[in-house]
Amino acid sequence: MMSRSVWNWLALPMVLAFAAIFIPAIASFVLTSFHPSTGLGEVGPEWTLDNYVRVFNDETFMLGLARSVQLGIFTVLGTLILGAPLAYFIARQPSRFAIGVFTLLYVSSLTSIVIRGLGWITLLGNNGPINQALMGLGLIEAPIGLQGNMLGLTIAMVHYMLPFMVLTLLPVVQSIPTSLEEASAGLGGGFVRTARSVVIPLAMPGIVAGALLVFAMTISAFVIPRMVGGSTLRLTSLLIDQQMLTTYNYALGATLATILLALVVGVVVLSNLATRSRVRVG
């Protein structure tokens, strides 16, 4: 058994590589956010909090942040509701059907994001198959708007993020011995009780990891919000793009990016604290 310090040394090259690539990039936009914009991609030398004051007082930016967070939360919930049963099913019933479902999911995650965005534009359209089907079933009378609104965007994001959630949950569910579920059943626990008291608590590290991954990727997602959400849903990622590439206000773009980064880091820290105190796995 190698000592802990040897492992730490083995990890060093990777840590250095990450540090060399990411720290300057992150530092550069975090620092930029504390300087005033002098227009056309330039910032002045003096230090200021004006950019933050402006963001927090601007309705467009605050609405964009709120929508980004809302999209993140609903996408996490959607991928959990769909992904957790799917991961459980694939882990517990390694049948040909389950492997087929898993393969489809995996292959779809390898498809170009642009193609998937285009697919959702077609599916969500007023004359698209979803509205046609709902009208055909008599559930709605007129097409419900799914394009350019949060509902349609959330559906598309859940689809895009689902493989990440399932692939994160799968090994965690597989690591829970089947005998624990049998023991729960033998002691009188039904399916729901066993899920609530045994499977979900033991899968919590995977649920938290999957939720963090999906949340972080969703609030910074760009392509799907741009294609499916259109220009009306001004999410933070789109506003950053606008500041950087349309109005050339680098300081403001950097401020928005720093706020997103702080949000993700904050959620990671909070969830670490929460799981450390609650989940205890032998």
């Binding site: 005998s179 009188g188 032998g282």
Partner: protein, 359 residues
């Protein structure tokens, strides 16, 4: 009325028959052990009794009620799993309380029962600890306490002592038996360890290739095995091929059919009891090592001579292996150390000869 009766129980996994039409009746308060090598169907059988595997055909009747298709959660049978299956995210107390909470017991009653169960398995003071903080033997006791806490109708144990080291296993055999007798709970236990089966059970069910080979009390099983398979699986035994040459009042006279017996051996064996065999039938003569006694000289019957090939001392007994013919040897228990090349003589009484049909 028996607590449990199993009728024609069969389980197929695809083309593999794991359990092949077994019948078994278990009475109130009995401790029954299913004994057999791995793959004999004993675990599948206990899992069908517990409701964890559904039978392909046959019936399981508990207290006169057909529970064959009753799910395990309502079958009210306690089970100790091979891996113990303690919930790692719950304290010992919460593990034991789990079935009680499901039964909507009051908080006070649960606390009281958890204390009682921990006393029963002689592990007070561990209620706050987590399973990972306990030794294997302690985890085993907690699993037993959890399986018994809600006073189930029966207790099942699936190789539950298998993971413990030899000394602890022996101690836990006594403990489990004590608890079982305290509570008078009908128990079915599965093991591949013959010591465990003989030492704990009221009756032992020896299984062979998905079927029951013999059901008997431990002593009966050891002294009167119904087949060479059972005789060999339960304890050690020397087998010698023979032919029946005479029968009178249940006793049998047999002629050993061993080529090249050493000088001084007698080919004649007298057995006090014998199964239903005809004169001329080929049989196996079985004699356990502890019944073959060293003697100063040979005799006209039930006597062999041979040269010492090797000895094995296990701390309590000295086992000698004697070559009685070029291709045949027997193992005998000796009272003291032996060495040298002098031929040794062994003799055994007729009432210790087990005559079994040739397989």
């Amino acid at each position: 009325m028996p607590v449990l009766s199993i009728e024609g129980l069969t389980k197929r996994f695809g083309s593999v028959v794991a359990v092949d039409g077994i019948d078994l009746v278990i009475e109130e308060g009995e401790f029954i052990t299913l004994l057999g090598p791995s793959g004999c169907g004993k675990t599948t059988t206990i899992r069908m009794i517990g409701g964890y595997v559904s039978p392909t055909s046959g019936r399981i009747v508990l207290d006169g009620v057909d529970v064959t298709s009753t799910p395990s959660q309502t079958r009210n049978i306690g089970m100790v799993f091979q891996s113990y299956a303690l919930f790692p995210h719950m304290s010992v107390g919460d593990n034991i309380a789990y079935p009680l909470k499901l039964r909507k017991w009051s908080r006070e009653r649960i606390a009281e029962r958890v204390g009682e169960m921990l006393d029963l398995v002689r592990l007070p003071q561990v209620a706050e600890r987590y399973p990972s903080e306990l030794s294997g033997g302690q985890q085993q006791r907690v699993a037993l306490a959890r399986a018994l806490s809600y006073s189930p109708r029966m207790l099942l144990m699936d190789e539950a002592l298998g993971a413990l080291d030899a000394k602890l296993r022996e101690y836990m055999q006594l403990e489990v038996r004590r608890i079982q007798q305290d509570l008078k709970i009908t128990t079915v236990h599965v093991t591949h360890d013959q010591d465990e089966a003989l030492g704990m059970s009221d009756r032992v069910v020896v299984m062979r290739e998905s079927q029951i080979a013999q059901v008997a009390a431990p002593r009966e099983l050891y002294d009167h095995p119904s087949s060479a398979y059972v005789a060999d699986f339960v304890g050690r035994i020397n087998f010698l091929p023979a032919r029946v040459i005479g029968l009178e009042e249940g006793a049998a006279v047999l002629e050993l059919d061993v080529a090249g017996l050493a000088p001084g051996s007698s080919t004649r064996v007298v057995a006090a009891q014998s199964p239903d065999v005809a004169i001329g039938a080929r049989v196996q003569v079985g004699i356990r090592p502890e019944h073959m006694k060293l003697a100063p000289e040979s005799a006209a019957q039930n006597s062999l001579a041979g040269s010492l090939r090797g000895t094995r001392f296990n701390g309590a007994l000295e086992y000698l292996t004697l070559d009685i013919a070029p291709a045949t040897s027997v193992v005998v228990v000796a009272g003291a150390e032996h060495s040298g090349t002098e031929p040794l003589h062994v003799r055994w009484p007729p009432d210790r000869v087990i005559v079994l049909p040739d397989e």
